[in-house]
């Protein structure tokens, strides 16, 4: 869409129809009345069980489905419940009171697995230990709901012969009629306010995305970027400020400088294209999931534009009828601490197969004690699933058994790698944008 008059070419940025679907993550009417986390687990079990029960007849139609309390020794059956993984090395607040503190060795800070971990299946009526070689504890975490087929042994364990995960949720068809390229740019881990932040590198990204860099060809590419998503950890407020003590006047600058610097960059961006900004673990937002949108007062300049959208974490939106779901990384990082996989993309695949964005919440990941819903359940499979603040850029196109197609994107930390990610809405192809100030 360029004016081809000589010397006066104006390129117009492409537009895409945006719909924000964060409603289920926003905490509005919820009031804390002293409820415990048992309610969120109950809602999760109830919802996932009804999904699994519709899948069991296609899996093993001839076997009865029992409750845990209804198990009979030696009788083959199927039980559905929530998994609990007992981990010896999992840090427990009670360890402070244990007299044998020295018995627990210094653990690697990023992984609490041990060979002694075992799995327990639990439903409303009871719990039973799962035995057998079919379920490797290293691939599972507490909080997922599965169906297992097997029988109770004489020791009271349940010997697992086979198991069923819910699998990818049904997906709404992606519109295939678009013929033009439209790109969505993803970036995360800017960490404004730390030494790792390189303002020139980020300015390069801003200039490229807004179209201030390069010749006409490059500007043409930039004009096809319809949305920028900032997936968390845009600034870094030193954790020393979170101790609850009053901040000395001389330290006020340390608190506000990163926010102001980020606002200046953001204002340049929102003047050019729609920007979604999500909170991360280092941002000034609440700790437990779902993190609420960063407050508009933090962004005095950028919030004046209607292209500026402050979002929750996890974030769910739709662009030209393509469904996007993503987080700032806490859900995958927590899975990494309590289970094993060959790469982060595999963790992401697992969360889609388990139909739950953050299965370890509320066990090891902070989460709001919902009473009447579990907002992290994935009811419909997204087309694009992204996770921010990871070590490196990785991507895979996942194909499901029911013709689902999901683009999985692991967005690296920009302050460390200088890499942003570009996704083409037309064909879900992904490539990296690398910015470097080293000559």
């Amino acid at each position: 869409m360029a004016d081809s008059e000589m010397g006066e070419a104006t390129l117009e940025r492409k537009l895409a129809v945006y719909r924000n679907l964060d409603e289920r993550f926003v905490i509005r009417e919820e009031k804390y009345k002293g409820q415990q986390f048992s309610h969120i687990y109950f809602m999760r079990l109830h919802h996932m069980r009804s999904q699994l029960q519709s899948l069991i007849p296609k899996w093993k139609p001839h076997l009865p489905v029992n409750t845990v309390l209804g198990l009979e020794e030696g009788k083959e059956c199927i039980i559905v419940g929530t998994l609990y993984k007992h981990m010896k090395l999992k840090p427990s607040i009670l360890d402070e009171y244990s007299k044998e503190r020295s018995a627990i060795p210094l653990v690697k800070p990023h992984n609490f697995m041990s060979t002694d971990d075992h799995l327990i299946l639990e439903d409303e009526s009871g719990r039973v230990k799962l035995a057998g070689p079919m379920l490797a504890p290293s691939a599972f975490v507490t909080g997922i709901v599965i169906a297992v087929h097997g029988k109770e042994t004489s020791e009271g364990d349940f010997f697992v012969e086979d198991f069923l995960e819910a699998g990818l949720a049904p997906q709404v068809d992606r519109p295939l009629d678009s013929r033009e390229d439209k790109f969505v740019a993803f970036v995360s881990g800017l960490s404004v306010g730390t030494n790792a932040f390189n303002p020139l590198q980020f300015q390069l990204l801003v200039d490229h995305v807004t179209g201030h860099l390069g010749d006409e060809n490059e500007q043409r590419i930039s004009s096809k970027i319809v949305q920028l998503v900032i997936a968390g950890n845009s600034m870094h407020i030193s954790h020393g400020f979170f101790s609850g003590q009053t901040v000395a006047p001389k330290d006020h600058a340390k608190l506000t400088e990163p926010i102001r610097e980020l606002d200046i960059f953001l204002t340049q961006l929102v003047a050019a294209l729609p920007v979604d900004i999500m909170p991360g673990c280092n941002d000034p937002a609440n700790y437990s999931l779902p993190q609420q949108p960063l407050h508009r007062c933090l962004f005095a300049g950028a919030s004046a534009y209607n292209t500026f959208v402050s979002c929750t974490n996890p974030h769910h939106f739709e662009l030209d009828n393509v469904q996007f779901v993503g987080t700032s990384g806490q859900n995958i990082d927590d899975l990494y601490k309590y289970s094993d996989a060959k790469d982060k993309i595999e963790f992401m695949e697992r969360t889609l197969r388990w139909r739950h964005l953050a299965p370890t919440a509320p066990n090891t990941l902070g989460c709001y004690p919902y009473v009447d819903k579990d907002p992290f359940l994935i009811e419909s499979c997204p087309h694009v699933y992204f996770v921010g603040n990871q070590e490196k850029y990785e991507t895979r196109l996942l194909q499901g058994p029911d013709k689902q197609l999901v683009r999985l994107i692991s967005i690296p930390r920009f302050c460390e790698t200088g890499v942003a990610v570009m996704l083409n809405l037309r064909n879900l192809e992904c490539h990296a944008l690398s910015f470097s100030t080293n000559l």
């Binding site: 009345k33 002293g34 409820q35 415990q36 309610h39 109950f42 809602m43 109830h46 409303e124 009473v371």
Partner: protein, 135 residues
């Protein structure tokens, strides 16, 4: 520990309210036994003294005989695992949640709760679950 001072030592919340014990034979034999009991922690304690744990819900004494069929039905609803945990959650809200989930909770429970809503505030304890304040 002089047994003479014990009666004043243990504050007696209730001596004899209008509670009638239907199973009078077993309880009266228990009463007579405790009077003769000369050892243990309850030495000298009058049998009608109430321990604080039984005093809940704004001072109402929580004895088995005091509640009627309504409370019994509400408690059964609380205890039914099919509708999920009951702790920290009002009974009416739990009923509404169960209905929204399609579990078909018994309608007469809702009628009792809604009927109480229009009643006096002294009955407000019935909106809280069985374990309120105890766990």
């Amino acid at each position: 520990m002089s047994s003479g001072d014990i009666k004043g030592f243990y504050r007696q919340k209730k001596k004899n309210s209008g509670v009638t014990k239907p199973s009078s034979s077993s309880s009266s034999s228990k009463k007579s036994k405790s009077k003769h009991y000369t050892g243990g922690a309850s030495v000298g304690a009058p049998s009608a003294a109430q321990t604080p744990a039984l005093v809940t819900r704004g001072g109402a004494i929580d004895l088995k005989e005091e509640y009627g069929d309504e409370e019994e039905a509400l408690r059964q609803f609380d205890m039914d695992m099919k509708y999920g945990p009951c702790i920290g959650f009002g009974r009416l809200e739990r009923w509404e949640r169960a209905a929204a989930m399609g579990l078909h909770p018994p309608p007469h429970v809702r009628e009792v709760l809604v009927g109480l809503a229009s009643g006096s505030t002294a009955r407000s304890s019935k909106f809280k679950c069985l374990w309120e304040g105890l766990v």
